[in-house]
Symmetry: C2
Subunit: 478 residues, 2 copies
Amino acid sequence: MFRSALLLLAATAAPALAQAPTGPTTPPITRPRATPLPVQVDPKLATLRDKALGDDVAWTITRDLTTEIGPRMTGGSARQAAARDWAVTRLKALGFRNVRIEPYTLPQVWERGSETAEVLGEHAQPLRLTALGNSGATPTAGLVAPVVWFASMNDLLLAPESSLRGKIAFVSNAMEPTQDGSSYGSSGVARFTGPNVAARKGAAAIVIRSIGTDHGRGPHAGNTNFDDGVTPIPAAALSVADAENLERLMQLGKPITLKLIVTPRFTGPRQSGNVVAEVPGTDRDAGIVLIGGHLDSWDLGTGAIDDASGLGITTAAAKLVMDAGRPRRTIRVVWFGDEEIGGFGGRAYAAAHAGERHAIATESDFGADRIWRFETNFTGAATAIGDRLAVGLAPLGIVRGTATAGGGTDVEPVLATGVAGLELNQSGLRYFDVHHTPEDTLDRIDPVQLRQNVAAWTTMLHVVANAPEEIPAVAPRP
Amino acid sequence: MFRSALLLLAATAAPALAQAPTGPTTPPITRPRATPLPVQVDPKLATLRDKALGDDVAWTITRDLTTEIGPRMTGGSARQAAARDWAVTRLKALGFRNVRIEPYTLPQVWERGSETAEVLGEHAQPLRLTALGNSGATPTAGLVAPVVWFASMNDLLLAPESSLRGKIAFVSNAMEPTQDGSSYGSSGVARFTGPNVAARKGAAAIVIRSIGTDHGRGPHAGNTNFDDGVTPIPAAALSVADAENLERLMQLGKPITLKLIVTPRFTGPRQSGNVVAEVPGTDRDAGIVLIGGHLDSWDLGTGAIDDASGLGITTAAAKLVMDAGRPRRTIRVVWFGDEEIGGFGGRAYAAAHAGERHAIATESDFGADRIWRFETNFTGAATAIGDRLAVGLAPLGIVRGTATAGGGTDVEPVLATGVAGLELNQSGLRYFDVHHTPEDTLDRIDPVQLRQNVAAWTTMLHVVANAPEEIPAVAPRP
């Protein structure tokens, strides 16, 4: 087998017989694979990586935050405020410097209300669902309307407007697991833009199959958005099991009527904040290494994989590097607020720190299963840093990707200014089983894989924060 | 969570509160996700796709070829010749037109000999290995030499030449499974170029840990290449279990001596060939849709996942489209010869058919686990074909990739001339457990996933072969 689309495989099919003792060969169409050049890495790196594989700081942060605080509802909730205080105490206790809360104001907040659904009539039965962030509300007594079924977003897009008026749209596309998480994009569009499309076509409400790869009863929460001028309609996600049940009911070919009660509301402005901690570096001019995750969570689970583990991983790695001696670059660990409801913490951070030089910005917000790939967008002299990362991360089973690193919600506003990025990609094969569900709890974290994450982040931080090369800015993102 | 590196996810973090009833919001840094445009697909497509999910032609081809012919050693072997005759009979029986063998000459062929290894001395024990294609030979009585261990290719590259002279190099990097197969590139370099590097540094021989993700006793065969002017040294792959055992022996810190017997040889020229079959189209000017897989295999297993299943999948899909009515474009199914030893069948095909217009070229050579992604490099009017493929493949759980389609060894010479490509990517998570090992047998094929493959290929062929748009050439590959 041979896949040339994977750049590193590009010469498996080298001319096998070019070295045969005699005779001409067909001119090679594919060229021989280039032998990589040797790369020198700091001998201390292996020691630090091995130490990280036995470190439990990430586990204790993840365990304690999900236990002592529990859900930290996105959108300036009281429990998120409690989590900020908890974070300050913990980060100080771990030995970080300049630990502080950086406050910002949320202009408006969407708040969950009641949420129930039932099939009426011959097949009367309850269905489990949860409202999507920014969903509109039904009357308190509920909304009763017939269901119109679309197997995919494309079918919804093709539907004539008249077919939706006064009805509850039901979009049921399924999602398969992908290691790179790409199926979240293609399946998730039913959540991201389905409610807006249904509202524009006059639907009274919309229910979707949860954007998830499980087969359980826990619905997957998450944000949606309506265009300016479009009045939000009630929008909710059925659990995968309930969505499949509703599909079977629709396949009976008889009219199905739902009663929906979904009563979220928009509150006034709220105060919220980011928590910041630092490992001061020796060279102020070398730029800050910005890392972190997000402190808020959806409310159904305890936000273990999303994103207590990301806080634990990045913080544990920063501590390991801190304990190994003062790095060249300052490492700044940010526990961002209000990621889930629109990336407010990341935007507030970027606005507050616009005058500072960042060398790189990267976050951990994809659970805690093993990291399988890294990518950078380093240019110039910094490409050598990428080469050292490849060698340093290889013993952890991590491949070098061929795409250009992007970022996540929280560091995106900093990356958008032209700061170099770097990604350590966790496997997404299990992530969407519990993402945004009641099942996002500590027991979903595999401590062995969590440690592999810490070792990868420690390797990355040691190499990047101590790199003698400059890390140039990249082209600002559009 | 949010990963903007995945293009389709690029606006999950849209400004959540932009629609809030009152108050200004922070200007959005990330833009709202674009709603996809509706796409019209042929209503017959769903029927054909469902029929494919119940079709058993791919299974019977895979079963019968691996049963009736068994291993079909790459490099013009007699069993490969027998497989060509078998193929002609089967393809005619299935109703294809213009079925024929297109012969070509292999100038030289590498042929396996004896292959054994044992640890001598205090820890005397046998080790299981297999010679790599293009390996040199030891004396018939064997080679006895001390082992020098390198945990990675980088360590081998860093080794001073003097450290290798007269020794057997042992490179032991491990490989983790990846859905996109990318770890084959980064781990596989130990096989692709390790022997050449060791030979240049004066090593007497090289053994590597098999390039595989299993933990078994079956060594993984595969090709390697030596630069012009470098005399091939004996080069072999230990099974993963045996490589780990040798690593533990090296960790004892005492000298370890191996006795290697590896006696392959280069034969003279041989005749070989491709098998070609067609579904004639109605429009000769629209270009040929070239598909297929490879008929040769490594000799240790029966070549079930590599690549009898690829022949089965592409042939079954072509038959389903043929049986549904004459397509616009001619579909040409090629069962290529001698892929494993250097892509000779693909090169011979490209040379023989250089004057013909191909619309696209694509192959199936990555096993038979479910297809999770497709990619194209269509340009101009043909981008609409990609949109229809996205809608047509989505019910099979297939995402649209954001990278540009490449190809495999067999179609690469045609793609190199500027013919458009398309990839239907099988999951690589299990593929390298048995790739090139004795375990590559029929029982590794999951009939349910095989049918999903056939449904995906049938969908692709129906859309592409019947597309009214022209499919323009793309920039020739470097």
